[in-house]
Amino acid sequence: MEIIKIVGIGILATFAIVLVKEIRPEFPLFISLITGVIIFTMVLGELSYVVETLNTLGRKVNIEFTYFSTLLKIIGMAYLIEFGGQISRDAGQENIASKIELGGKVIIMVMAIPILLSLMELILKILP
């Protein structure tokens, strides 16, 4: 059961952080980082299954499939950005977190531009 593993790891990490915080104040950050990476990798397998299912369904739709895969890529990127930003915040680096988020947003916008362009092209084609 994946969920039990995930919850177990989370609870253990929390205990460890509470215990270690008094002795070595720099350790909790590492623990939370490692815990985050472990949980993320565990969930990644399940997430890839969902994304693959969405991909399969997306092929049945008559829209440009690349646009739908772009959407999925954007969702994946958003996860990474959130993850990175959260770790930076945990370490008390709010500035770096906001920079990560900014970079992520820009890249998301860049990826969205082809969709926007093709949409504009389509509208111009339809209008007389």
Partner: protein, 206 residues
């Protein structure tokens, strides 16, 4: 029809896309990046909705023709015949007359000891055509109707008398019938005439 298949394919695309987007919404992270993803989703939806129109223009289908000629009801010509209306009125009148006669006959025979042989009815003309103007009732002594089938009755001895007088109904009987019809049908008593038919003689006695 190409237009029907076109619309069904279009609807299918929209429905599947919305299902996919619902799932994508579920797996979306709930941070600041959410609104950017929503923007891309919005663009994708608009693209999916508009995209078939471009194909429609390529197909060169005249939507107006399809919309206005589809399910066009067949034109029906009504042949308005004046004779037909007259005939219909006449039939209605006859039906009404026969019903009233049957009703009157039934009423008189049920309430009195006479049987109705015939009825003469006159109706008002014009708008009040349903009202009875005058009524003549031909009555006779009540007799059991013969049952169907042929049978031979024994011939009774015939007694020939000079005075062949048949018992006439009294004045009260006439008035009784008149009252009855007046009460039931609200016809002026003066307009009701009751005539007694002398059975076997063919004459009419008033």
């Amino acid at each position: 029809m190409p237009i029907i298949s076109f619309i069904s394919a279009w609807l299918k695309d929209i429905v599947i896309l919305f299902v996919l987007i619902s799932i994508a919404e579920l797996i979306m992270p709930k941070g600041n990046t959410r609104k950017y993803i929503n923007l891309v989703i919005g663009l994708l939806i608009i693209f999916t909705i508009i995209n078939p129109f471009a194909r429609l223009l390529k197909m060169d289908i005249d939507l107006g023709e399809v919309a206005f000629n589809y399910n066009k009801p067949a034109e029906i010509y009504y042949n308005q015949d004046e004779n037909f209306d007259m005939l219909q009125d006449k039939q209605i009148e006859q039906l009404y007359l026969s019903r009233v006669k049957a009703d009157l006959k039934d009423l008189v025979e049920r309430e009195t000891e006479f049987s109705v042989k015939d009825l003469d009815l006159k109706f008002f003309k014009g708008d009040e055509y349903r009202k009875i103007e005058s009524l003549t009732i031909y009555i006779s002594k009540y007799e059991e109707e013969e049952v169907s089938g042929i049978y031979i009755e024994k011939v009774k001895p015939i007694d020939i008398k000079k005075d062949n007088h048949i018992e006439q109904p009294t004045q009260e009987s006439y008035e009784e019938i008149g009252d009855l019809v007046h009460r039931e049908y609200n016809i002026d008593k003066a307009k009701i005439e009751v005539i007694f038919l002398d059975n076997g003689k063919g004459g009419r006695n008033e």
